[in-house]
């Protein structure tokens, strides 16, 4: 087939309209939030003293970390799924959440006597944390990988990993409403493990599922 012939076929197919990718991302973000919320409410739900806890700094700081992560990953993944888009600034934005956690860890180490560090780090919910964040995040991750297939990521493995971070940030936001371990030491250790697991799954998905 000559290239001119191919163009005739493409031109004849021009009427087929697809939703703009950027709209699809917003739709996916909404759907993923609903999926995560349903899984969260069916499994663990918010902690009973949620309203009281909402007045404490440590409890609120968890949401700052996870929401900043989710927002920066969402910004980056929209760029990564668009060919030729500039990704530098969005890529740099990804370090904001880890920096905030790092700063909070330093503050916590000053605020809490050394004898308590171990207890704060281990917490009560470490296994639940590492199980539930991936469990809440897996549905959103599947949605985000589907949108990556709909888009055109020129670095599919990286884009898949960022899809995992996005799913992780979203899932951790819900999980944080359940968990009693509010210390930044706990968050820095176990949330990181759980979210990294989702990022690895996302990278594998990007490698083997995202083809175009």
């Amino acid at each position: 087939m000559r290239t001119d012939d191919l163009i005739k076929a493409l031109d004849a197919d021009a009427r087929d309209k697809a939703m703009p990718l950027q709209s699809a991302w917003w739709l996916a973000a909404g759907a993923a939030t609903v999926v995560a919320a349903v899984v969260f409410l069916l499994t663990i739900g918010p902690r009973p003293d949620f309203m009281a806890a909402a007045h404490t700094l440590r409890f609120l700081s968890k949401f700052v970390f996870t929401i900043v992560l989710a927002v920066s990953a969402f910004t980056l993944i929209r760029a990564l799924s668009t060919p030729g888009a500039v990704t530098g600034r969005a890529m740099a934005g990804l370090v904001v959440a880890p920096l905030l956690v790092g700063a909070a860890v330093v503050l916590e180490l000053f605020a809490v006597p050394q004898t308590e560090w171990g207890a704060r780090l281990i917490g009560h919910n470490m296994m639940i944390c590492m199980g539930l964040i991936p469990l809440i995040g897996i549905g959103p991750l599947a949605i985000f990988l589907a949108i990556l297939c709909y888009g055109a990521p020129t670095r599919p493995v990286l884009a898949g990993a960022v899809a995992g971070l996005l799913a992780g940030g979203l899932a951790a936001t819900f999980y944080a409403a359940h968990c009693f371990d509010d210390s930044p030491l706990f968050v820095a250790a176990w949330y990181t493990v759980a979210i990294t697991a989702l990022a690895l799954m996302g990278a594998l998905g990007g490698r083997f599922l995202v083809r175009w």
Binding site: M1, R2, T3, D4, D5, L6, I7, K8, A9, L10, D11, A12, D13, A14, R15, D16, A18, M19, P20, L21, Q22, A24, S81, T82, P83, G84, A85, G151, A152, T154, R211, W212
Partner: protein, 183 residues
């Protein structure tokens, strides 16, 4: 020249998205010429047929045109897709190659005519269902319109459009699957 190309191509792209079919054909011809120049410059020794990469790029641009943001420049979008497909083509033939990212100036080549040889796309066409294959061939190789193709096969125009779209999507998918040497 870059600025002029950019303005003209994004104008055509916007017109095409708004439903102007003549603008779309014009746009695809211009993109084909640009990509052909880019690819030929990058393939210095044999193994990869530049025109195969041009065709894969055009198909990808068509299937992924919803990924272009109307407020963004169109040339970087086109070249990012072309580069991705070129790297694929090398990878498929078991070669690793680094492509310069920042040489847009070099890539703005004079339009070049295509060479004729056996095409990857013909092999991909062979993998379609008989109905899709005959519709795609009628419109591309035989140059028939949607209406003429519908009359020829005694089916509705909608059925022709569906077969055409699914056939093109299947070819694009096959090219995508061929990454990582799975063809």
């Amino acid at each position: 020249m870059t600025g002029k190309d950019e303005a003209e191509l994004s104008r055509l792209m916007r017109a095409a998205i708004a439903g102007d079919e003549r603008a779309y054909a014009d746009l695809l011809h211009r993109i084909a010429a640009l990509v052909r120049g880019f690819v030929r410059r990058k393939i210095v020794q044999g193994g990869v047929d530049p025109e195969d990469v041009v065709q894969e790029t055009l198909l990808a641009i068509h299937m992924k045109r919803h990924t272009w943001r109307q407020d963004a420049p169109v040339l970087p979008w086109i070249y990012a897709i072309a580069r991705f497909k070129l790297i694929d083509a090398f990878r498929r033939r078991g070669r690793r190659i680094e492509i310069d990212v920042d040489d847009l100036a070099e890539t703005l080549a004079e339009p070049e005519p295509e060479t004729v040889s056996e095409r990857d796309i013909n092999r991909a066409l062979g993998g379609l269902s008989p109905a899709q294959r005959s519709v795609v061939s009628a419109i591309s190789v035989e140059g028939r319109s949607i209406g003429e193709t519908a009359a020829k096969f005694g089916i509705s125009e909608t059925a022709v459009r569906v077969s055409l779209h699914r056939g093109l999507a299947a070819i694009a998918k096959r090219f995508g699957q061929a990454r990582f040497g799975r063809e």
